[in-house]
C-alpha cells in the first residue's frame, strides 16, 4: 500500500485472535449450513433436534468428538498419527492471516487495517501453506497403516500435486493484471478498476474447478471416496483427531473461497454495506456453489481426474496466463 499506516503495534494480536475465532465459528456453522442445504436439496430436513433449527448441532458435535476415546491403531506410527491432523489444521488456519477482510479504518490518529498482515507475496504464501497442509493428509494416511488409508493418501498426493499447478497458473493472470502478489493490492486494484471475474473469466473457471479438487470436495472427493475407500486417508481416525481433519478441510474450503473472493470479486469492496459484511456475503455465495455441486455431481474416476487436470485444466490455465500477459504488454 502506498499509504503510510499508523497502526498501534499491539493491535495485531487481538485482530489475529478475532479472525482465528471468526474462521473457526464460520467453520462450525458451515457444517450446519452444509447439512441443512444438502438436506433441503435431498428432500430431507437436516439437523433440527439440538436447539432451534438445529443451530446448536455444531456444538453438540464438538462435545461428542472431544469426549470420544482417542484410540491409536496398534501398528500405526503414533507420533505421526497425532501430528498429521495438527499440521493440516494449523496450515489451514494460518493461511487466513493474509486474506483481507476490510479496508483501513481510521480512529483518531490511528489506522486499523482489515487484515492481519499484508505480506508482499500473499498469494505465494497461501499456496505454500496449502502445500504444507498436504503433508498432514498424506502422512496421516500413511501412518495409520491401513490399506484404505494408504490408497487414500496416494490419491491425495497425486490429486493435490496435479491440481495445485493449475490453481497457481489460474492466479497468474490476476497477478499479471494487478501487478502485485499482495492480496490487499489485488483487492484494492479491483475496487479501483473492475472485478477480475470479468476479464479473467477463464482464470476464474479454472481456479474454481481446481479449487474444488484442491479441497477434496465432490466431485473430486477421491481421496475419501466413501463407496470405494471407506473414508480414505482418515479411515483409522476417530474422535477429535478426525474432527481436526474435518476442520482442516472445511477451513481450506473457506480459505479458497476467501481467496477467490479476493482475487476475482473485489475482496471487501461493495456499495453501502461495510467491507467485512460484503466479504462475508461474497464468501457465502462462493461456498454455496461448492455445496450445490456436492449435491449434484457424481464422482470422477482416478484416471479421468488426472487426465482432466493435466490435459484440460493445465493447458487452459497456461493459455489464459499467456494471453493475459500478451494483452497487458500490448496495452502498456
Amino acid at each position: 500500500m502506498s499509504q503510510t499506516i499508523n497502526q498501534p503495534w499491539w493491535i495485531d494480536l487481538p485482530k489475529a485472535f478475532l479472525i482465528v475465532n471468526l474462521v473457526l465459528l464460520l467453520f462450525a456453522y458451515l457444517t450446519w449450513t452444509e447439512r441443512k442445504l444438502l438436506a433441503r436439496m435431498q428432500l430431507r430436513y437436516g439437523p433440527n433436534r439440538v436447539g432451534p433449527f438445529g443451530l446448536l448441532q455444531p456444538i453438540a458435535d464438538l462435545v461428542k468428538l472431544i469426549r470420544k476415546e482417542s484410540f491409536l491403531p496398534l501398528t500405526g506410527v503414533d507420533l505421526l498419527i497425532v501430528m498429521a491432523p495438527v499440521v493440516a489444521g494449523f496450515t489451514a488456519l494460518a493461511s487466513f492471516s493474509v486474506i483481507p477482510w476490510g479496508p483501513i479504518w481510521t480512529i483518531g490518529d490511528y489506522h486499523i487495517t482489515g487484515w492481519v498482515t499484508d505480506v508482499s507475496i500473499g498469494v505465494i504464501l497461501i499456496f505454500a501453506l496449502g502445500s504444507l497442509g498436504i503433508y498432514g493428509f498424506i502422512v496421516g494416511g500413511w501412518a495409520s497403516d491401513s490399506k484404505y488409508s494408504l490408497l487414500g493418501s496416494m490419491r491425495t498426493c497425486a490429486q493435490m500435486v496435479s491440481y495445485e499447478v493449475s490453481l497457481a497458473l489460474a492466479v497468474l493472470g490476476v497477478v499479471i493484471m494487478s501487478g502485485s502478489l499482495s492480496l490487499v493490492d489485488i483487492a484494492v486494484k479491483q475496487q479501483e478498476t473492475i472485478w477480475f471475474a470479468g476479464p479473467q473469466f477463464v482464470g476464474l473457471l479454472v481456479f474454481f474447478v481446481a479449487g474444488v479438487a484442491e479441497t477434496n470436495r465432490p466431485p473430486f472427493d477421491l481421496p475419501e471416496a466413501e463407496s470405494e475407500l471407506v473414508a480414505g486417508y482418515h479411515t483409522e481416525y476417530g474422535g477429535m483427531r478426525w474432527g481436526l481433519f474435518q476442520t482442516a478441510e472445511y477451513i481450506n474450503m473457506i480459505t479458497l473461497s476467501g481467496l477467490m473472493v479476493t482475487l476475482f470479486f473485489g475482496g471487501w469492496g461493495g456499495p453501502g454495506l461495510p467491507g467485512p459484511l460484503w466479504f462475508l456475503i461474497k464468501l457465502a455465495a462462493v461456498i454455496f456453489a461448492f455445496m450445490w455441486i456436492r449435491a449434484t455431481l457424481p464422482r470422477l474416476r482416478y484416471d479421468q481426474l488426472m487426465r482432466f487436470g493435466w490435459k484440460v485444466l493445465l493447458p487452459v490455465a497456461t493459455l489464459n496466463a499467456l494471453v493475459t500477459a500478451i494483452i497487458v504488454v500490448a496495452v502498456d
Binding site: Q42, K147, A225, S227, P298, R301, Y302
Partner: protein
C-alpha cells in the same frame, strides 16, 4: 432360446476367466512382483449392498485378482421352509430378497398352485400382475438410488426413495405392512383389494413417468456419469448366456429374453409391453434397461388397472382356502375346514415342479418337491443375484477400483438372495 441381437461384437472371443469363472487369479508375471496389494472389501464396507466380501488384488489402482466370499447372510431359508406347512411357508420366500419380495412370494405360490392344480380367479391374476410390476418399480428404484450413491451422485438416493415410499404406501394400503406383504397365497390373494386402491395406484402411475424423466435428466445429461458408466464392465451376449445370466443383465448385453413375454405366466400374454434390449453390455446399458423397464412397468400397471375384472379374489376350494369368517358361526363344515387348515395345513399332491418368473433381477425359479404331505419335502430357489454375482470377475478384470464398485452396483445383487 434367447435371440441374440445382431451387432458389432463388444469384444472378440470370451473374457470369462479360467479355470473357474468366479475366480480371477493374478497373472503369474505380476504375482511374482511385490507391487500387488491385497485389499479386503467387506463384508463390512459402505458399498457392498449388504455383506458381500471381495478379496481384491490391486496393482496400483487396477484390479488384477478377485475373489468373492459369500455366505455371511446365509439364513437357511430353504431348509426352514421345509419345516413349515405350505400355509406358513409363504412368508419366507419374500424375505429372501427384501427388494423383490412379491416376486419371490409369487414364484413359491405359483409352484404350490401348479402342484395343487387349482384355478385362480382372474381378478387375483390381474392384481398379482399389477403388484409384480409395482414391485419391479420398487426394486429398480432402489437399484438406481444405490448405484447413484456408489458413483457419488448422492442426491439420487433420496429422489428415488421418494417414489419408492409412494409404492410402499400402496403396499401398506393393501396388506397393512410396507414390505414382505404376504398378500399372495395359494388360490389367489390374501384379501380383497381395498376400496380406493385403484385410484391411488393410478395417481402414482400417472406421476411415475415424470419422475423417471427427472432421474434421466439428472444422470443422462451428466458428462461425469456417462464417462463413469459407458464402456465399463463389458459382458458380451455369448458370455452372458454362458454364465447363465438373466434379466436386465442379459438384456443389456443384447440378448432378447424375458420370461414375461417368452414364457408367459399370470396375464402377461394379454398385456401390451415392450422388452427393452440394449447391445452395449456395459454399465450404462444396464442403467438404460432399468430405466426403460420402469417406463414399461408403468404401462403394464395402467393396463392392469384398466383390465381388472370383477369377481372373487380367491379360489373357492375349501381344502386349500380358508372359509369366509362369517360362515364359522353357522356352518360346522366350515369350522372343521378352518381348524384343519390352520392347525395342519393343506396337503399338496406328490410331485415335483419348477416354476420360473421374471423377477426384477431376472429369472427367479422355485423348484418344489412334495411327498404328499402338508410340508414341502424340498424347496430350492434359483436366485438371479447369485448367478449375476458369478459374472462379476468376467466384467471386473482389469478395471480400476472405482469401476469395480460401479460394476458391482450394476449387477443389482441382493446378498440375502445370494446366500439365502
Amino acid at each position: 432360446m434367447a435371440a441374440v441381437m445382431q451387432h458389432a461384437p463388444i469384444y472378440e472371443g470370451t473374457r470369462i476367466p479360467s479355470p473357474a469363472p468366479t475366480l480371477l487369479e493374478v497373472p503369474e508375471a505380476l504375482g511374482e512382483s511385490e507391487d500387488i496389494l491385497t485389499v479386503n472389501f467387506g463384508p463390512n464396507h459402505p458399498s457392498t449392498h449388504g455383506v458381500l466380501r471381495l478379496v481384491v488384488e490391486l496393482h496400483g489402482e487396477r484390479v488384477v485378482g478377485l475373489r468373492a466370499v459369500i455366505g455371511y447372510l446365509h439364513t437357511g431359508f430353504e431348509k426352514t421352509i421345509e419345516q413349515k406347512t405350505y400355509w406358513k411357508a409363504i412368508t419366507y420366500p419374500a424375505r429372501i430378497d427384501y427388494l423383490s419380495f412379491q416376486a419371490n412370494e409369487l414364484v413359491f405360490v405359483l409352484a404350490i398352485e401348479k402342484l395343487l392344480e387349482i384355478d385362480v380367479p382372474p381378478k387375483a391374476q390381474w392384481m398379482r400382475t399389477c403388484l409384480l410390476e409395482l414391485n419391479r418399480l420398487h426394486s429398480h428404484l432402489v437399484w438406481l438410488g444405490t448405484t447413484g450413491l456408489e458413483l457419488g451422485a448422492i442426491s439420487m438416493f433420496w429422489y428415488t426413495f421418494r417414489e419408492r415410499d409412494a409404492i410402499l404406501d400402496l403396499f401398506e394400503m393393501l396388506a397393512g405392512v410396507r414390505m414382505h406383504t404376504r398378500y399372495f397365497q395359494a388360490g389367489g390373494l390374501a384379501d380383497d383389494i381395498p376400496p380406493g386402491f385403484a385410484e391411488e395406484c393410478r395417481r402414482f402411475a400417472d406421476r411415475m413417468p415424470a419422475a423417471v424423466d427427472e432421474y434421466e435428466a439428472m444422470l443422462d445429461r451428466n458428462q461425469i456419469f456417462l464417462e463413469r458408466t459407458k464402456g465399463i464392465g463389458l459382458l458380451s451376449a455369448d458370455d452372458a448366456i454362458a454364465l447363465g445370466q438373466s434379466g436386465p443383465m442379459l438384456r443389456a448385453s443384447g440378448a432378447d429374453w424375458d420370461l414375461r413375454r417368452d414364457d408367459p405366466y399370470l396375464v402377461y400374454d394379454q398385456l401390451d409391453f415392450n422388452v427393452p434390449v440394449y447391445p452395449g453390455g456395459d454399465v450404462y446399458d444396464r442403467y438404460r434397461v432399468h430405466m426403460d423397464e420402469m417406463r414399461e412397468s408403468v404401462r403394464i400397471i395402467h393396463q392392469c388397472l384398466d383390465g381388472m375384472p370383477e369377481g372373487p379374489w380367491i379360489a373357492d376350494d375349501r381344502k386349500v382356502v380358508l372359509p369366509p369368517r362369517d360362515e364359522l358361526h353357522t356352518s360346522m363344515e366350515s369350522l372343521i375346514h378352518h381348524f384343519k387348515l390352520v392347525t395342519e395345513g393343506y396337503r399338496v399332491p406328490e410331485g415335483e415342479v419348477y416354476v420360473a418368473i421374471e423377477s426384477p433381477r431376472g429369472e427367479m425359479g422355485c423348484y418344489l418337491v412334495s411327498d404328499g404331505g402338508a410340508k414341502p419335502w424340498r424347496v430350492k430357489f434359483r436366485a438371479p443375484s447369485f448367478v449375476a454375482l458369478q459374472a462379476g470377475p468376467t466384467m471386473i478384470q482389469g478395471s480400476l477400483i472405482a469401476d469395480m464398485i460401479a460394476i458391482a452396483a450394476s449387477l443389482d445383487t441382493v446378498m440375502g438372495e445370494v446366500d439365502r
